[in-house]
Symmetry: C2
Subunit: 360 residues, 2 copies
């Protein structure tokens, strides 16, 4: 590991450790002062989730709730928070991680456990917002891995160097511990993320990574947290423009938008996950018309979703508004693989170059 | 690429190409002889799917249907088969692949297309059974990638060497084109496949690959075709014993059984996919009792499924029968991550060594 990476890792670890320890110290201080121990937990309710026009993603507002040991109803919740924070402190200390499912089972051995997984997830999120840190920093990992990456970039993970051109045709898999990975070297000008692994493999086969000097990222549907963190990091640390190409329907639009402007549910960690400078490349309603793509008719649920998007603060840009209206008007949607109508190579030989030129 | 691998690849390609070409030649011969062109398509109906006790997997029986150009109802189907076979012949020739979704869109440009994806999938399967080859050999790839592999093994894919210890913490991803990958070198004694990526990451973190000198395979639920092909190849080409560890419920049992004895639906390609020597390591009903695991009660649908398994020819081994009965009797199921009740390390430090010793 390079010295910079090692220092950063040590810093992150120290920060997590101290924040977790601080939670307990706050309670001890209250006891010492003979005050009733109280924790301030920022509210995650919808009324406290605010779209920040400058940052261009959702953030949490100023409202918070108090959890007091003076309130009988809140004693259990505080006990769970302290137990969980202690478990995380231990994870950070020994440099291990656990899935939220493992953590739930571990809690079976505690004096004060959880009734179900949902309850333990909620307490986990309480700790995230209270400390202002993402659960990955606290050692709690999601189950699922992130996207696949193919192209000319070299990562460093511990003592291991990983070349994303030498990890096989399915590329390098972004792991939940992506923040421990350093970008060692690269030779690309941009990043193109695509919704399906079908399109990922098409781009690898057609040498899109050479033609466009790009990293290819296969999202596998809705982008995992680790994928969003990765895209933010390549965008900001390596100054690479990020393009997202998905199916031409409201669900494809929103997969791109969550990468760009984050989700409301994760307002407390969007500062680590959102990439406001990422651009939606397609498939747009205009693409459907201009390229005469094979389509399916919009279903009722698609139209409802498009109308929701139209009034969502993340879609207030005139270009988005125009594309949403156009899709409702033509009443059609198209998959990204539908370019194959013109031959397997068409999407790489014609569509991508034309769209990249438009956006650059 | 080594010479052996290159030869094998050339042989596979030649075989695929000739079989596809043969399909068209058969029709031309019929025409030349002034016979009515006819194709024999083995039946994939349930009555033609037979469990082979010696091979220990489902195979197709001897029944077949005839598709004749003399039957007006069958003309379209034969036209679709010929078009699709021709498309595949071209793919094999230029050494490309397409997803079945791309193929469907490509067919929009044909004189004789498909009404929907299901119809084109069916014709694809018709060609598979008629030629006795898997669709991967014909260039048609599934959308999804296979499992993740971590451990001391080196693959060769084209000119690229891939070290599964140097592909990152999430390991090497088995791609749909796994048959083009050669096993160059390895230093392991066995393979342990686990159902969840949570368990995969646990095993990587606890150095299970060193402790048991094993490859770790993260199945991500039901094993993809490419994963099953990979497990069969490491078992037969490298003589490595394969163990499967899943959740202790009927669905976990069956994920293992499909790896071991194949599925009925894919009876025509089980000879390429089934690994009859693979062993189910757990979680068994006995494990649930012996290790006093945290459990959930069996649901009605779990019990129904267990009863189905009990009468399935693949589960006639006394050990399986006993475990299925025991699970119904105790009325409980357990996830593989539930060992965390005893601490995160327990599954690797205690459970795996005990179970491997029992099975070896």
């Amino acid at each position: 590991m390079t010295k910079v990476a090692k220092n950063r890792k040590v810093e992150r670890k120290k920060l997590s450790y101290n924040k977790l320890k601080g939670l307990g110290e706050e309670i001890i201080e209250d006891v010492a002062k003979k005050d009733i121990p109280t924790l301030k937990v920022p509210s995650r309710g919808t009324s406290n989730i605010v779209y920040d026009d400058v940052k261009r993603y959702f953030v949490l507002g100023d409202r918070y709730g108090k959890r007091s040991l003076g309130n009988v109803k809140q004693i259990k919740k505080i006990g769970q928070m302290v137990h969980l924070a202690n478990f995380c402190k231990n994870l950070v200390e020994i440099e291990k991680t656990a899935t939220i499912r493992e953590m739930y089972y571990v809690s079976e051995g505690w004096d004060i456990g959880f009734d179900n997984q949902q309850e333990s997830n909620n307490v986990g999120e309480d700790i995230e917002v209270t400390l202002g840190m993402s659960r990955e920093d606290l050692g709690l990992m999601p189950e699922e891995d992130g996207a696949s990456v193919y192209g000319s970039i070299v990562f460093q993970e511990g003592d291991i160097e990983i070349d994303a051109l030498k990890s096989g045709k399915s590329g390098y898999t972004i792991s939940p511990t992506i923040d421990e990975v350093e970008f060692l070297d690269h030779n690309v000008e941009r990043v193109i993320a695509v919704e399906t692994m079908g399109m990922f493999h098409r781009m690898v086969q057609e040498n899109a990574y050479k033609k466009f000097n790009t990293l290819i990222v296969g999202l596998k549907g809705q982008a995992a947290r680790a994928t969003r963190r990765f895209l933010k990091r390549v965008n900001e640390e390596l100054n690479l423009p990020v393009y997202v190409c998905n199916d031409g329907d409201p669900w494809g639009f929103h997969i791109a938008m969550v990468i760009i402007s984050g989700s409301a549910k994760l307002a407390h960690v969007n500062h680590d996950l959102a990439t406001p400078n990422a651009k939606f490349l397609g498939v747009t309603a205009s693409d459907i018309v201009n390229y005469e793509l094979p389509t399916d008719p919009l279903k009722e649920v698609d139209i409802l979703r498009l109308k929701e998007l139209a009034s969502d603060p993340r879609y207030q840009d005139p270009a988005w508004q125009s594309e949403i209206k156009k899709m409702i008007k033509i009443g059609k949607k198209a998959e990204q693989q539908s370019f194959s109508k013109y031959g397997l190579e068409y999407v790489v030989d014609t569509y991508f170059p034309e769209k990249l030129e438009m956006l650059d």
